[in-house]
Amino acid sequence: MAAIDGASPGLARRAAPVLVGVAAIAVAVALWQGAAEWGFISTFTAPSPSDIARSFPALFTEEGLVRRFFQTFAETFLAAGFAVAIGIPLGWWLHRQPLAGLAYENWIGGFAGAPLVVAYPLFLVLFGRNTGTIVVMSCLSGLPAMVLKTKEGLDGTRRVLINVGRSFGLRPSAMFWKIMLPAAIPTIANGVRLALIFALINVVGVEFLINFGGLGELIDDLAQRWELPAMFGAILFVILTSVAFFWATGKAEKWFRPHG
């Protein structure tokens, strides 16, 4: 191990850990398949990987996986969109009013850590079992990140840039649009990413809990019908799409960061 760590970097050397990681997963899947084939685990409770793979076509043709995927992501973008639309002005206001910032910043931080999703029966009572509940809850989960990151970004604008703006006699609105907002964009982009991630987690979670909507509902439906291979397949699909989504938002966020 020390020899590998100390050697000069090369393609093979960089690829080695990745290959080991992939191989470890392949071995785990093979062991699972073997255990299912030889009866060490009951396929009634833990279907084999090959059964799960075979369930995928039916997920697309019979369970409307593509439609559900778009529904879940539409809800996610809608919720995150509301969080951005409300969060940026709120963050700007907390930045402009330092006393309000001092008074509410900790509260908003505390709200971010509160187990809001546990209160979903309350939202069911207020909004009903529909997309509204999913979007409102997911928006609220992403809102604190958006507010705090906007405030952080605006607070962090370099003093020298503000002084340059003043020396040019910029009006407050021009100062905001031409100096403060562009300087805060990387931090705000981080907030947008966090809002999207929190929104997606909540959308899938609430869909699963209230048995309504897209991918989350599909998992719950399949579990209730005891269609375990398809259920495992749907869970795998949700994980893969989540991972792809986090990766894509991470790349998009990097694009907004200053280069060089």
């Binding site: 990681g21 850590g113 998992i219 991972v243």
Partner: protein, 261 residues
Amino acid sequence: MAELMATLPLAARGRFGLVTLIRAATLVLLWALWEGAARSGLFYAGALPSSFTIAAAALDLFVMPAFYYNLGVTVLEVAAAMAIGVASGISVGLALGASRFAGKAFEPYLQYLAPAPKIIFLPVFMVMFGIGPGSKVAIGALSCFFPMVLSVIAGVRQVDPVLLRVGRSFQLSLAQTVAKIYLPALLPPIATGLRLGLGVAIIGTLLSEIKMSNRGLGFLIMQDYGRFDIAEMYAVLAVIFVLVTLANGVIARCLRMKGRG
């Protein structure tokens, strides 16, 4: 608090007083809005009860033996989930953090899986452990594992290499290196992981109870929802929020005390 105030300059003290005033005014305003909405007749009274009704329901809750039984069940489930999540998180974190090769091989999977919604694993855990406390503990442990393991990996990478070289020069065994160098140096990241892990373990456990269970605070919420006893449901939710805030506060205070000490 008085000692802290005395050390502040006059202007800061005035600011502190204003902030407290704004907070108090906000709370009063929120309460007035709630009461106004509840009494306006615009909303169904059952869905938006008066704050006095909720307070009365909370008082009733505190004299109900069933509340303490369900609270005890949830606390035990969360404690078991934390024990499993923390122990496995520290072990895996130490292994992946100490070996750069293993870290590169497996850490990306952990990084990407960490934010995935864990509640979707509930049907799998129900199949494996049944609908009793086992599946709730499993979801809680899985939720707690990720913040803990990622915190520990980051912490291990920040351990001063000089300490490790000193350990090697004293010919410490692996167990001694872990016990005498890694764990003391890792206390802050472990505490951070603990704080983050506790929050998500509580959420995971409660959501599992809400989804399907016959005991615990989550079950109590669903029971109230089923009976449309909304005032009591608000009261249980308020108790949960207060307990989570207190638990977070206790850990944060311990962290600050450790930092000062």
